[in-house]
């Protein structure tokens, strides 16, 4: 399992970099899909088949499709780099490095014995996930429906021709 993990972990990181670095929006979106799918494979390797599949269905199959369609409809080709933000260039990269270093240090400090063990989840099947959602997290689950309702309402308000 370990080599597969490394392959997809590296793939996820590379694709994530590509999301940021690509100049064509469609390529960025496609790279993001690769990130999501690689993460799904990592879930799969951890024995969480249900989560892996759900990840693909929801993120790659539903949300990103809408992203890609919107980008296509806007016909956004290559974006022109803006030279305005010097601050971002001189401050952004070093801050990013500091943050990265901090995180790496923290991980290293927290897990000194860097063993990659496949911490198999106790049970990540649909039954267990369902029990968690509808018992322990029933309130967040229900409140999420309010959130989605607000989002729908907002979309209607902003986009409908005549209210």
């Amino acid at each position: 399992m370990a080599p597969l993990f490394y392959i997809f972990a590296v793939l996820a990181i590379l694709a994530a970099l590509s999301v940021v670095l690509q100049r064509t929006p469609v390529y960025s979106a496609l790279s993001l899909i690769v990130v999501l799918c690689s993460l799904a494979v990592v879930y799969l390797l951890l024995g969480a088949e249900f989560l892996a599949v759900i990840q693909v269905i929801i993120y790659a199959g539903a949300i990103m499709v809408l992203f890609v369609l919107v980008i296509m409809l806007l016909n956004a080709r290559q974006e022109t780099p803006s030279d305005r933000s010097r601050l971002a260039r001189w401050l952004g990269a070093p801050l990013l490095l500091v943050f990265l270093g901090e995180l790496l240090f923290a991980v290293w400090e927290r897990f000194p014995a860097a063993t990659t063990r496949a911490a198999a989840l106790p049970d990540a099947g649909p039954r267990a996930v369902g029990a968690l959602l509808f018992r322990s997290y029933v309130l967040p689950f229900e409140v999420t429906s309010i959130l989605i309702l607000v989002a729908v309402l907002g979309a209607v308000v902003l986009a409908k021709k005549r209210l």
């Binding site: 693909v56 269905i57 499709v65 890609v68």
Partner: protein
């Protein structure tokens, strides 16, 4: 599942299985095309392909040869990477979902258990849906990358259609999943040993089948290729081999949804089993193939007889009729199940 005592042999067995399944699938696709031409011809009082081989049986071979030796034209203004990626994506995703389809019961011959299935994922059904949901990209990206308005409009239409009907497709099978209490295709089939799901979930089946026809962009939902308005749909700019991949992907998808319909609603490989051990082992596979064949025939029959929807009718039908009906079906099923369990 065999324990990893004999790793290379196991790997070889898996590869062999993949090879066999692929071969069968590709042949099925080729002859599904032949069958379609033949049946549609009969419906329209024609003969259909008749010249190449007896009853035109070698026509698929001829078609394949023709299409491989055609010139592969890539228009100059396309987005080259995505343009080439799209057909591969469509085709490989269409093939991928077949990997979790069980074709028959597991049999034990000489101490070795043979599963008629490439891999038994315990969320097999969801896996198929995941792969299907990714299938939209092939279409959408092909439409976008061609850099032509007909392709783009065709791509947008079919992706909108696929996204819309994917929901109903999923809702149609929720009832089955609730009955079986499992997402594993094998367990869902085994659960039907008493009574096929089509009799318990008739509404679910109708929803599933209607949505499946729409999901595969077939008549009467084949608006993406409405010739009179969109030239050829998302693959207008594709030719030769790349076009063939889209074509094969479409038929592979038809095979997949037919397999799924068989497994979910018609008891999969279940059927009368008798005779000597070898026959016992092979009969389930035969029943499965027979049922899938019936579905393929149904598909072609529909294509030969029904007219095409208008686009707004299609969307209204999906969102305002099929989806609410699916939700209602889920609600009723869960209520009945809850009432029974108390």
């Amino acid at each position: 599942m065999a324990t990893g005592s004999n790793m290379p042999l196991l790997l070889l067995a898996i590869l062999a299985k993949v090879g066999v399944v692929l071969l069968v699938l590709l042949t099925t696709i080729a002859y599904a095309v032949w069958l379609e031409r033949k049946v549609v011809a009969r419906i329209q009082s024609r003969w259909g392909p008749y010249l190449v081989g007896p009853h035109g049986l070698l026509q698929p071979v001829a078609d394949a040869l023709k299409i491989f030796f055609k010139e592969d034209i890539v228009p100059t203004e396309v987005d080259r990477v995505v343009y080439c990626l799209a057909p591969f994506l469509a085709f490989s995703l269409a093939l991928l979902s077949i990997s979790v389809i069980p074709f028959g019961e597991s049999v034990t011959i000489g101490g070795a258990t043979i599963h008629f299935q490439i891999t038994d994922l315990n969320v097999g059904l969801l896996f198929v849906f995941a792969v299907t949901s990714l299938g939209v990209y092939g279409v959408a990206l092909a439409g976008w990358s061609s850099n032509s308005k007909y392709s783009l409009l065709g791509g947008l239409r079919s992706s909108a259609q696929m996204i819309s009907y994917e929901l109903s497709l999923g809702l149609g099978v929720v009832g089955v999943v609730m009955l079986a209490g499992s997402l594993s295709l094998r367990e869902i089939v085994e659960h039907q040993s008493g009574l096929w799901n089509v009799f318990v979930q008739p509404v679910g089946f109708l929803i599933y089948f209607t949505a499946a026809v729409a999901e595969t962009n077939r008549v009467p939902f084949d608006l993406p290729e409405g010739e009179s308005e969109l030239v050829g749909g998302f693959h207008t700019e594709y030719s030769s081999f790349k076009f063939a991949m889209f074509f094969m992907a479409e038929y592979a998808n038809i095979v997949t949804v037919s397999c799924l319909a068989t497994l979910l609603f018609f008891g999969g490989w279940l059927g009368p089993v008798f005779g000597p051990p070898l026959l016992r082992a092979l009969l389930p596979v035969f029943w499965f193939c027979l049922k899938v064949f019936c579905f393929l025939f149904l598909y072609i029959w529909i294509r030969g007889t029904l007219p095409r929807f208008r686009y707004d009718q299609l969307m209204a039908f999906g969102w305002k009729f099929l989806l609410p009906l699916g939700l209602l079906n889920v609600l009723v099923t869960s209520l009945v199940l809850a009432w029974r369990s108390t």
